[in-house]
Symmetry: C2
Subunit: 713 residues, 2 copies
């Protein structure tokens, strides 16, 4: 495990150690001492003899004993030579605080490259540069200078030191949870997100991984690792830098190729990552996921005192797609026994003042509701934990008893309870007790709803996990000799694309329903082919120099009979020659006119961050004007293909509108999966464009196909 | 002002006064005493002689002195007779706490009606029933029993007592703001939302009105009042009960006709109301709007220490449609002078650690940024207020100085500053100072962004106010004698709809471009009309008994020449008779075939809550499958009509796609406004359906029109 000696270092050199209290090189040593680092500390500074009682070394290589990790607090330009020295000493890793690398432009980028080369040479792994540092809360290796970070089982990976500080502060103030590690990823120059993910995925003391990301350099490897990790433990991620101003900010901040493509969200979710948009929900999501059972039924019971909070909660959960099922008659009857007649027992359950004099009624109701098989988890909203404040002090004791009982219920039923209390910030004893039992308590109703929401999201993901496909390509595995030959031919002829008939031949080889095209080189041959086809035909020019046939006047449609076909053949060739006098003409493609019906589009391309992706949409205005398309990172499963078709807004069209029978979605699903297979089979494919595909009530037909090849294959 | 003696009551009777500490009738008197109510208190209970030292009266009418208001704490069934007694005594208003009215179903509804009738008889105005009470924080008339409510200039109107408690608690814990009044609206049996609105709109001590609404009974009057009130002061509103479970919850809670139609959001916003979805943003919005200048430029500067918060803030503000303009070169140069070289000065401005040793740099940067004319307000994100905690205690003093300076800047520049600080919940002295200067400080970055967002929303509304139309109909003002006659004819004939040619005649009278239709009663006449038209014609059956002509086979298209027209005429009549043997046939409409182009739809109807509304969409799949339509409450202005066309997703189609020139949006705009005028002119109109309208690159044509009349006019 190559990061073990780095993140679990037991000896650390502080390069730039200082006796000046305002310097990082002083603060870092002081923090290590105060926080009780269990390993060895070696200050390094040629100008000092002793710092904070430690002997100070002129350089790292002067240290006699082995050193795992170096914290480098000196300016950017000094870093490469320090790394060189560290490398010679056999140091395993370095944390580079300085900014002034890639995020500052070309010169900084050069310096970053130089640093990286030295590090590679000596196999020194780098955290940063441009990072706030790292912390191992297990052995108190605190290289950030934030004291008294709450300890716990959440690993925090952040591209912003201040976001980390926010989350740490939130954990201290609003929860009883804490962190196992923190890593400030910084510019991600050497160690990448996916490597941290792998490390924390394997760390037995980490139960959830919390990430703040502005941009990442190796999206696909990240997805692959996340796909593996989320099977074991949840990953919660907030990605910023969506907007132009946000991108610019992220660029100047971490120098990241910020701004992920439109596939990011769905790709992350497919990898099992819980993607969060609102920073208020980030830590709470990790809090819930690291300590509560997930919800397998996508359904929640709401227990309230007074209707307002219940009504809002019902709205928010419904927006999240979570069911709020009506309680069974049996459950309702039991609730009625203990609640006043004005109470509502349907779900949301409103105790309607029934708790004002006896808040233990919440534990009673919780017990009854959690027993209902349709209820996967319980959200309690309102005043719980504050009845002692609101009504009479003595009620606190009753609340405490209720808290103990609810805590045990979660364990017994293996169903989560999440609590909203408008008294959450008062940290009353009942609230502390709930948190002791891992029942989180939020003062934000919105956050409480979203938090129980992620438990349902996690449960649904785990339910469907078997249907997911990982992100690993088995390159070339299903390639066919015929397909290889088509691509090789294009390559030999110096083309970075396939001619239409080649593309269709490739598709046909893998089972796609393409129009039955034939390449004619003479008018007579065209006539013969047209006669054999028997219906109206289309003529299309085939030339390595003409990619956009229509633009060149190289397409003639709806021809029938010898005269029309001969005339069409000649016109198509003349137009092509006029369009590009140097065009070599391979011939003219003779295709049957496909019967008109619904046009759809499938496309694939290589995304900068995630590699091959696929797109689906309904042709014409839906794609061109409404941009109504769905994306997936490849490869995809049949289940993914089905979802792609479902999630476009115009999906109802596929199901048949205005009395039309449904279109053949199965044929499209097969075609989508086949396109995935093609991209996987032939790594040379850069882009595919099946446009249009005509889909019928039975079957589908690929009418035009374009395949572009990578320049570098 | 009919609510003055109610909400500003100086004498109050507590009906149900009790010596039992757990009873509302005890707590209410105790709270009034403890909170220092400045008026007179009269306990009422036939079973008690004295309560808390006061003489207790058997009934309200036994009190010798005048009584403004009665708080009724007794059960529902007792209420009507108590109101009767109050009425006889001349009491102006009553607050009815008990539940058990409309929200419990038919029997409760009857009781509510009974109570209401008594109240109307004696002109006693009612708050509630099913309310937590009301508070006047100016004279300490606290009838809720929540002690120590922070005083201030926000009036709170809520349909949930616990939501009110949440907001009050939030105000105490997270701000220095407070409330002028609270009213628990409850079932809204007598006093309606719009009446409270009017009262608080006129109250000089109220600067903003904060509302939580589950449902309202008189939507249009509310809109009209809000339209007037928001010109003077902001209204901030959260509406719940969108989802099925939420509606059910609201129904059992306040018995409201919950669930507002799809027009609610846009109607509220047009009335100048700030509509909030996330309860976390509700109080902060009121906090900002009641005390900070609004933003007139829709642009914000972001000032941060470290990139993470800045990047997230830029994303959120961009999502809100707020500009984050690049700072002028002059501004950037000034910032560079005082910031480290790693800082970013574009906007977001990142001081990049420049404040770690001197947080006064925030005041410097704020001053420079607010001077930039492109910057309408400033959002500071990160650690401000906590540098003393994070780095060195002494920095607090520098922060305090910076807070003083920033507070004065807001006044001087009349531009708002909003602060996010991860130390907000620590309430440090610098944070208290900021709040003293009405600069709010939030621990939630999301809330800080949304809060500055509402200041921009308010500013934009005030900028565009002149273009808004109020919600008042000038019924019949623009009616034409010819139009009246058409409607009267239908009425006389016992129809609640117009025949197609009548509807078109009505439209034409008001300037709509309708097809030139003529009603033929014989085949010969039809032939004559067709010849005069000269192009292909459409024949359509006209019968008072046949509303859906196509279903009856009553439409024939694309006919030309005598033979076709005669045959068509006969078929249409035969089909109609077969469809409904009792149908009276008025004749056959002969219309020119309109040239095909883009089909759009305009419709109007009467919304349950808001009265007449209008809808616009592009015909076919856009409306039928994608439900891509926009709604407005009528009447509308030309500017509103333009926005309706802009806000459908398929709007680009109107601008011309695939090389098409744009469609004649001006013609559609005129048509929308004309439909608004028609509904206003003829109150008899219940529903209009112009479908299809064919729009061309020049002009438009109403091809079919349906007008339904109200049954009750």
């Amino acid at each position: 495990m190559s990061l073990d000696r780095v993140l679990n270092a037991t000896s650390v050199a502080i390069v730039g150690a200082s006796r000046n209290e305002t310097k990082r090189g002083y603060q870092a040593i002081k923090t290590l001492l105060e926080q009780g680092f269990e390993g060895k500390i070696y200050p390094v500074n040629p100008k000092e003899n002793r710092v904070l009682g430690f002997r100070c070394y002129p350089k790292v290589s002067d240290i006699e004993e082995p050193v795992d990790l170096a914290l480098i607090t000196t300016p950017a330009r000094t870093v490469p030579s320090i790394i060189e020295d560290c490398g010679k000493k056999g140091v395993k890793g370095a944390v580079i605080i300085a900014g002034g690398f890639r995020e500052l432009g070309a010169e900084g980028k050069k310096l970053e490259q130089e640093m990286l080369e030295v590090a590679k040479k000596y196999n020194v792994r780098l955290i940063g540069p441009n990072t706030s540092g790292m912390m191992n809360l297990k052995n108190n290796l605190n290289l950030v200078g934030i004291p008294d970070v709450p300890k716990g089982d959440i690993a925090l990976v952040s591209q912003s030191g201040n976001m980390a500080l926010s989350l740490i502060t939130e954990a201290s103030v609003k929860s009883q949870k804490g962190f196992s590690y923190y890593v400030g990823v910084g510019n991600e120059a050497d160690i990448k997100f996916h490597e941290y993910l792998e490390f924390f995925g394997n760390d037995p003391d980490t139960k959830a991984i919390l990430m703040y990301v502005e941009g990442m350099s190796e999206g696909r490897q990240f997805l692959q690792q996340a796909y593996r990790t989320t099977l074991q433990k949840p990953i919660i991620l907030l990605k910023s830098g969506r907007s132009a101003a946000g991108k610019a900010s992220a660029g100047s901040h971490t120098g990241s190729l910020a701004g992920m493509s439109e596939v990011a969200h769905s790709a992350f979710e497919r990898a099992g990552i819980i993607v969060i948009d609102n920073p208020d929900e980030l830590f709470p999501a990790a809090e819930c996921l690291s300590s509560l059972p997930s919800i397998r039924t996508n359904s929640v019971g709401i227990l309230a005192d007074g209707g307002g909070h219940a009504t809002i909660a019902a709205d928010i959960l419904t927006d999240l797609g979570i069911k709020i099922p009506k309680l069974s008659n049996k459950t309702q009857a039991k609730l009625k026994e203990i609640l006043p007649f004005t109470a509502s027992v349907r779900n949301p359950v409103d105790v309607a003042g029934g708790a004002d004099a006896d808040p233990s009624i919440f534990a009673e109701c919780a017990k009854i509701m959690l027993k209902d098989a349709d209820i996967g988890g319980l959200l309690i909203v309102g005043l719980f934990g504050g009845y002692g404040i609101r009504f009479a002090k003595s009620l606190s004791l009753i609340e405490e008893d209720a808290a103990h009982r609810m805590g045990k219920m979660v364990r017994k039923r293996n169903k989560p309870i999440v609590v909203h209390s408008l008294y959450a910030s008062r940290n009353t004893h009942p609230i502390e007790l709930l948190r002791y039992y891992n029942i989180p308590v939020y003062d934000s109703l919105h956050v409480a709803c979203k938090s129980i929401g992620v438990l349902a999201q996690r449960g649904s993901y785990m339910n469907e996990y078997h249907a997911k496909v990982n992100f690993v390509f088995n390159w070339g595995a299903k390639a066919k000799p015929g397909g290889r030959k088509i691509i090789e031919t294009a390559r030999k002829e110096g083309r970075n694309f396939l001619l239409e008939h080649e593309a269709k031949a490739l598709l046909k080889l893998h089972g796609a329903p393409v129009t039955n095209d034939r390449l004619a080189t003479t008018p007579e041959q065209a006539v013969k082919f047209a006669e054999e086809i028997g219906t109206d035909v289309v003529l299309k020019i085939v030339s390595p120099q003409i990619l956009h046939k229509s633009d060149a006047g190289g397409v003639k449609m709806g021809l029938r009979g010898k005269e029309q076909v001969v005339k069409g053949f000649e016109e198509v060739i003349q137009n092509a020659k006029r369009y590009n006098p140097k065009a070599e003409i391979s011939g003219v493609l003779v295709s049957p006119m496909a019967e008109q019906d619904l046009e759809v589009i499938i496309g694939t391309k290589i995304d900068d961050q995630f590699g091959p992706v696929i797109m689906f949409g309904i042709g014409g205005i839906m794609v061109e004007v409404l941009k109504d398309v769905s994306f997936r990172v490849l490869p995809i499963s049949s289940a993914s293909a089905r979802k792609m078709m479902q999630e476009i807004r115009s999906a109802p069209i596929l199901d048949g509108v205005r009395g039309n029978p449904p279109y053949d979605k199965k044929a499209l699903r097969k075609l989508l999966v086949m396109c995935s297979e093609l991209v996987e089979s032939y790594p040379e494919i850069r882009e595919m464009d099946l446009n249009p595909i005509i889909v019928y009530h039975q079957g589908a037909k690929v009418v035009d196909a374009r395949v572009l090849l990578r320049d570098d294959c």
